[in-house]
């Protein structure tokens, strides 16, 4: 393995560790990001493990019948909202690399009475879906966690069909605004 790939594997382990031991914050994140009417139909379990950074679904304009890919679905809050919006003729492919997150999403979807959410275990840097198979990609606070963002974005364009749409919330940082002590901290590589 090249040094770069080794580094990338170490970073992913760090992310896995951080998210597999995540504890619920009650619904502090969910209520900060979403209005009460947006959360109608989202089971408590998905609200309580919301880990997103924004509310891109307000802009996504999800259409009935779309095939939607939620990259890094976590406990499923956005997958559930998107599944309600795309309706029974559409489906949400909820992708995460942590099986425990996928279990949370699957049980929240079942609790919400949705049978159009399909969980997929996989890495955003090698999305296990065929070319041109998705109408719409959504994602919340995830792409910044990829050690190889160029590759992740290339995977997004590969799986999206021509004319397909992309609407995500994520972090950006301005390195010039942050002191070296923060930029060089081992936990600060994301962003």
């Amino acid at each position: 393995m090249t040094k770069d790939l080794m580094h990338s594997a170490e970073l992913k382990d760090l992310v896995r560790e951080a998210y597999s031991s995540v504890v619920s914050d009650g619904d502090a994140t969910a209520t900060r990001l979403y209005a009460e009417d947006e959360l109608a139909g989202v089971p408590r379990s998905a609200r309580e493990f919301a880990l997103g950074v924004g509310n891109h679904l307000r802009y996504a304009d999800i259409q009935l019948g779309e095939t939607i890919l939620d990259i890094g679905c976590g406990a499923g809050i956005d997958s559930i909202i998107a599944a309600h919006r795309t309706g029974p003729a559409g489906r949400v492919l909820a992708l995460d690399f942590l099986p425990e997150m996928l279990e949370r999403t699957a049980s929240a979807a079942a609790e919400a009475g949705l049978d159009n959410v399909e969980t997929i275990e996989g890495d955003m840097e090698a999305i296990p879906l065929p070319d041109d198979s998705v109408d719409h990609i959504i994602s919340n606070g995830v792409i910044n966690l990829s050690p190889r963002k160029t590759r992740t974005l290339a995977e997004c364009t590969r799986v999206l069909r021509p004319g397909g749409r992309f609407c995500v919330s994520d972090f950006t940082i301005d390195e010039e605004d942050l002191p070296p002590e923060v930029l060089t901290h081992p936990a600060a590589w994301a962003g």
Binding site: H56, Y59, T157, F166, S169, F171, T172, A187
Partner: protein, 70 residues
């Protein structure tokens, strides 16, 4: 990653119509809710980032784009 770099990488991947439709300050208090901001990192931020800048240590953005049709 800076917003500029994100947009550049999206262009190179083949996206078009790239728009940042929302930007919000992401401060140290928001960061506390996120697992990657460890207690240790939060402490370093509190010690080294001037108090008047701590309300925006990162920016949360919403980005929209699409692929060209066929």
């Amino acid at each position: 990653m800076a917003e500029r770099a994100f947009v550049e990488k999206m262009k190179r991947a083949g996206f078009t119509g790239i728009e940042i439709v929302q930007r919000d300050a992401f401060g140290v208090d928001d960061a506390r809710l996120h697992p990657l901001f460890t207690a240790d990192l939060i402490e370093v931020i509190r010690k080294t980032v001037p108090t008047d800048k701590q309300h925006q240590v990162a920016t949360s953005v919403v980005i929209k784009a699409h692929l060209a049709t066929g």
